[in-house]
Amino acid sequence: MNKRSLVVSKASNTGKTLLFYLVLIVIWEVAYLIGTQWLGVWKSYAFPEPLGVLRAGMRMAADGSLWYAVAYSGIRAAVGFLLSAIIGIGFGIILSVGKKNIAHYLRPFLMGIQTLPSVCWVPFAILWFGLDEQAIIFVVIMGASFSITLSVDSAIRNVNPLLIRAARTMGAEGRTLYTKVIVPAGLPAFIAGLRQGWSFAWRALMAGEVMSSTIGLGHSLMMGRDLADINQVMLVMLVIVLLGIIIDRGVISQVETKVLKSRGL
């Protein structure tokens, strides 16, 4: 296949995907109409419909609440993820360069914490920080940084030892060995870890925001419930999914692909 036909087939693939979702939305609308209007088995305040979601979106866009929510959540996500990355990388380095037996004992503990759903940190967060920004960031950090720590640790430990040996015989040692060999060699695994860390951070953020009363997507979700506006709930959920995907696919996975490609992986 030449480049041109590749582009064409890619475009037609995207077209097909869009069509697929369009059909899905139509089915959803029809199901809604049948269920609520004709059969009357569903209550319209408990069942979202595509047009209602659209209306909720336009309303929230017009009164600005959607943009505020996105901006606040976005800033929190950025701050929380950044702090998680810093803390996670820091501990990861300590774990993999520190005394071997301490790391050996700590690893299962960290893996245990990592399986804990981040919402479990909410009580702690509230008792320590109150219903505050710090509480949400705390939940994000607890939710994401350990997974980053573990990925840094395994990225470093899985560097091909032959590369390290080769570098050492060429005079690399100590810090140089880290900056010139171990870090670049572990980069692909590390980025994959960051990607996973992002997904944890985003989930943790929503868990934190749902609990709190500050502006944000999680809070808008709960507002929708309080107003018995299921369409707003649905809309906010879709926005949460979309933003999560955009950061993952649009940013982190772009970097990942670039790194992998340059190494022929």
């Binding site: 091909n160 032959l162 590369l163 040996r165 080769a166 570098a167 050492r168 015989t169 060429m170 005079g171 690399a172 040692e173 140089t176 010139k180 060999v181 670049p184 060699a185 980069l187 340059s262 190494r263 022929g264 992986l265």
Partner: protein, 257 residues
């Protein structure tokens, strides 16, 4: 610079036998030494101890009178696997060690290009590692090792992962480069032919425990055509020597079964 291996032994923690047992050998400057012997006789272990990647459990190795305690740029190793850095292109791989010596970047690139020319890869200087064939990778590794201009070059079966044609070509290149540079080289090989082709002296080792059986001085004129009569008869002698060692160590290992 003289390399002295002085009554060196190595026993790994999980083993009850010495992988290398009481080995002594003095290697002169400019010498090409080949280590041969059955699998598991400690050739790589000995080489790694010279490199400083392993520590002897007894005895010591001295380079120019100084005890070797760790790896260093004066003893570059070329491994069976090219061990190139996949995040760097060919040129940056070759300059890796030079840059660690804090040489000027332009100067490093100049030196590297020189060695890439020697291994006939100048055209590929900006290629990525994954875009090279196995033979090309090994040539980059050779250029990288040579560019360090280390006192000693250590090679652990550098060609064994390659096909016959590539091996022959690379051998000629290495022989030629050695004639030009007269570097001290210690090469581990499982090919007797290769040992005869390169070696000023061939060290035959035996396994369980790993010891030096015999040191043969090869008086063949260079370049050495591998099909000449003297080459073939030499080869027969050494092959028999190694065969005996293989039999003996297999006996020792599996004899009771």
């Amino acid at each position: 610079m003289i390399l002295e291996i002085d009554r060196v032994s190595k026993r790994f923690d999980n083993s009850d036998k010495e992988a290398v047992n009481n080995v002594s050998l003095t290697i002169n400057e400019g010498e090409f030494i080949c280590l041969v012997g059955p699998s598991g006789c400690g050739k790589s272990t000995l080489l790694n101890m010279i490199a400083g990647l392993e520590r002897p459990t007894a005895g010591e190795i001295r380079l120019a009178g100084e005890k070797i305690t760790g790896p260093g740029a004066d003893r570059v190793v070329m491994f069976q696997d090219a061990a190139l850095f996949p995040w760097l292109n060919v040129l940056d791989n070759v300059t890796f060690g030079l840059r660690l010596m804090k040489k000027d970047k332009v100067e490093c690139n100049r030196i590297a290009m020189n060695y890439l020319k020697m291994v006939k890869l100048t055209k590929f200087a900006h290629y990525r590692v994954h875009e090279l064939s196995g033979g090309m990778k090994q040539r980059v590794a050779l250029a990288r090792a040579l560019a360090m201009d280390s006192a000693i070059l250590l090679m652990d079966e550098p060609f064994s992962a390659l096909d016959k044609q590539t091996i022959n070509k690379l051998r000629d290149e290495v022989a030629q480069i050695w004639e030009e540079t007269r570097k001290t080289i210690v090469m581990v090989t499982h090919s007797v032919e290769e040992a005869l082709f390169f070696g000023d002296r061939v060290v035959v080792m035996s396994a369980h425990p790993g010891e030096i059986r015999e040191i043969l001085t090869i008086d063949l004129p260079r370049p050495r055509p591998i099909d000449s009569a003297s080459f073939v008869s030499y080869r027969k002698t050494i092959l028999e020597e190694v065969r005996k060692e293989v039999d003996r160590s297999e006996q020792a290992e599996f004899g009771g079964q």
